[in-house]
């Protein structure tokens, strides 16, 4: 089934919950209201005409600064000052966050892309890990790296970063900390980083023990040693 026909089915079934349709480009995709994502997912999996058994990929996206005309200014990578402290971005990120679901049906051999956008201030939408269990880890990753909350997730922990990590690195306004637990992170040479390595205090070298007297054993008798 073509993506446009699948979109039509979704509109018939969910009406206003299908809030957008992007038919252009290499990959047409439908946008749905975030609150209805789990219902739409269940329909996509269980309707025999669709039968999307495989969630190929679930991606979190920070749409801040995106401009389809190519004029977008990404604040993705910020620089660092000479002393190693991160540069503050001038623009405050305000754009939406989003999730993209890439589906495939083994039965009908068709693909479909579903997207949902959530406001940055309250980035939460229902989990689909009860529809496709594989989503559980992808959603943990989207939480970990982008800070998108999946309500009803059975195990909402970080997955790739440490549990105590602060911030979500794939957000466009993320500033990498200068150091993490004493280890400099910002790519500066170790010597100029703000987290200087703790070296032992300089002290006078201990007097070396006198070498053992080897003169007593002359070269003549060492032959068979």
């Amino acid at each position: 089934m073509e993506p446009a026909a699948i979109h039509q089915l979704l509109v018939e079934k969910f009406g206003d919950a299908v809030v957008g349709w992007h038919p252009d480009g290499p990959e047409p995709c439908a946008e749905v209201a975030p609150a209805r994502v789990a219902d739409v997912a269940l329909f996509l999996r269980d309707d025999p005409r669709l039968a999307f058994a495989l969630l190929m990929c679930l991606s979190g996206i920070d749409w801040d600064g995106y401009d389809a005309a190519g004029k977008g200014k990404s604040v993705a990578i910020l620089g660092y000052r000479a002393d190693g402290t991160p540069e503050a971005g001038e623009r405050v990120a305000t754009g939406d966050l989003g999730v993209a679901y890439h589906l495939y049906s083994y039965a009908h051999r068709h693909k479909f892309t579903l997207r949902a956008r959530v406001p940055r201030a309250q980035p939460s939408l229902p989990t689909v890990c009860r529809v496709w269990p594989t989503a559980a880890w992808h959603e943990r990753e989207a939480w970990d790296l982008l800070g998108i909350v999946f309500t009803g997730h059975p195990d909402p922990r970080r997955i790739l970063l440490e549990d105590g990590w602060i911030g979500h690195p794939l957000r466009k306004d993320y500033a990498m900390p200068g150091a993490w637990e004493g280890v400099p992170l910002q790519g500066q040479p170790y010597a100029v980083s703000s987290a200087k390595p703790v070296l032992p205090p300089p002290s006078a070298p201990a007097p070396r023990p006198a070498p053992p007297d080897q003169g007593a054993r002359g070269p003549a008798e060492g032959g068979s040693a």
Binding site: M56, I61, D67, A69, G70, G72, A76, I77, I159, L160
Partner: protein, 392 residues
């Protein structure tokens, strides 16, 4: 209830069990990894065991996390190829391939014929090299040293071929947006055919040595059985999915590059030694896939045309027109997908990497419980994980 304990009680004549006071026992928490020879990298499995029986498995990953996706947002499309090498470091050619195909799809450019053939030859040789590691290390997990040495002996030839091609032995950075970086050295085709001639005979040797070895079959048959439903639900792809009997391969069923021109079969698990979808089936799919890769390489070398090796009109810094596309390719581990969102600039706006091992590992939470600990080692080994692409 514990099947092992029940079994023992039954074999002693079930009745005296009622007379015994109920034994109070609790689950034992056990860490397998992050440094453990059977985890194939820096992976930690937190296991709860009831005696020798695994009660639950929880993988902890991220020890190799480099946030490659953030790096991808910071360098231009061509520069990122070198980072894809570091995803699945046992099959960098396949990772290069997946990435350049994804970017080219978004740019809408065609790749010269010669480059397409070179890409296929390298990707299939790489698949053989990667499966050889899977074969060798799986044997090692099962207590067999020799297969690893055999595997590395043959892999060495492939690495030498790649070294002559692009200078690298482990990380190649060979594929380029719009083609490949270097043309083939003199005598490359003969060298490859010689290798294939030699290698196809070696496959029988592997079967004698390991595949049909009684001890090996005892260790792997009926172990870690993965049903088709679970494989689909957990997004398993590649040899893990095919081991469960599903004849599905991106190269054949969702073709990219020029794979639709070649003739090859998609081997699947048949349950020859036990149940369909057991560890032996997953292992055997890889052995048979190596033979299919040989077939593809033969055809590609035969059809190799002359001509340019990259699209001539591309500039040094390529700009990707605004748009988004998810492109998947069949890497040696399964479906390797790149979701590229471009905004018209030189760097991708967002780059999501869907690595096959990530989903293939996830399923251990489902098929791990209920096994003996030693069988868990067999199951993990049969999934052929590479932590570089899990942690990204």
């Amino acid at each position: 209830m514990n099947p092992a304990i029940d079994g023992v009680a039954a074999s002693r004549g079930g009745d005296d069990r009622a007379a015994l006071p109920r034994l109070k026992s609790e689950l034992l928490e056990l860490n397998m990894g992050p440094q453990h020879p059977s985890t194939h990298g820096v992976l930690r499995l937190l296991i709860h065991t009831d005696g020798e029986i695994v009660h639950s498995v929880r993988p902890y990953i991220g020890y190799l996390h480099r946030c490659a996706e953030k790096i991808g947002e910071g360098c231009d499309c061509r520069q990122f190829v070198v980072y894809t090498d570091r995803l699945d470091y046992l099959a960098p050619m396949n990772c290069n391939f997946g990435y350049v195909v994804a970017v080219e799809k978004l740019m809408g450019i065609a790749v010269p014929e010669r480059a397409e053939h070179i890409r296929v030859i390298c990707a299939e040789l790489q698949r053989i090299a990667s499966h050889l590691i899977a074969f060798g290390t799986f044997g090692l997990d099962m207590g067999a040293w020799t297969p690893l040495l055999y595997a590395f002996r043959e892999r060495e030839v492939i690495l030498n071929i790649f070294e002559r091609l692009c200078g690298g032995r482990m990380l190649y950075n060979y594929y380029d947006i719009g083609g490949v970086r270097f043309d083939l050295p003199d005598g490359f085709a003969e060298e490859v055919v010689d290798f294939i001639d030699m290698f196809e005979r070696k496959l029988d040797e592997y079967n004698t040595l390991l595949s049909y070895n009684k001890i090996f079959i005892e260790r792997t048959a009926d172990v870690g059985v993965l049903s088709v439903a679970d494989a689909n639900a957990y997004g398993c792809t590649g040899p893990v999915l095919r081991g469960s009997g599903v004849a599905w391969d991106c190269r054949r069923d969702d073709p990219y590059s020029i794979y639709d021109r070649f003739e090859f079969d998609v081997p699947t698990g048949q349950g020859e030694m036990g149940t369909v979808g057991d560890s032996w089936d997953r292992y055997m799919v890889r052995i048979r896939e190596m033979a299919e890769s040989c077939r593809i390489v033969r055809q590609a070398v035969k059809a190799l045309p002359e001509g340019p090796i990259r699209t001539p009109e591309l500039k040094k810094i390529v700009k990707v027109p605004a748009g988004a596309a998810y492109t998947r390719t069949e890497s040696s581990k399964g479906e390797l997908g790149f979701y590229v969102i471009a905004d018209g600039g030189a760097t991708p706006f967002r780059l999501k990497i869907r690595s096959p091992s990530f989903s293939n590992l996830h399923v251990i939470e489902k098929i791990g419980p209920g096994q003996m600990i030693s069988d868990l080692v067999a199951t993990v080994g049969s999934l052929d994980l590479v932590l570089g692409e899990i942690d990204r």
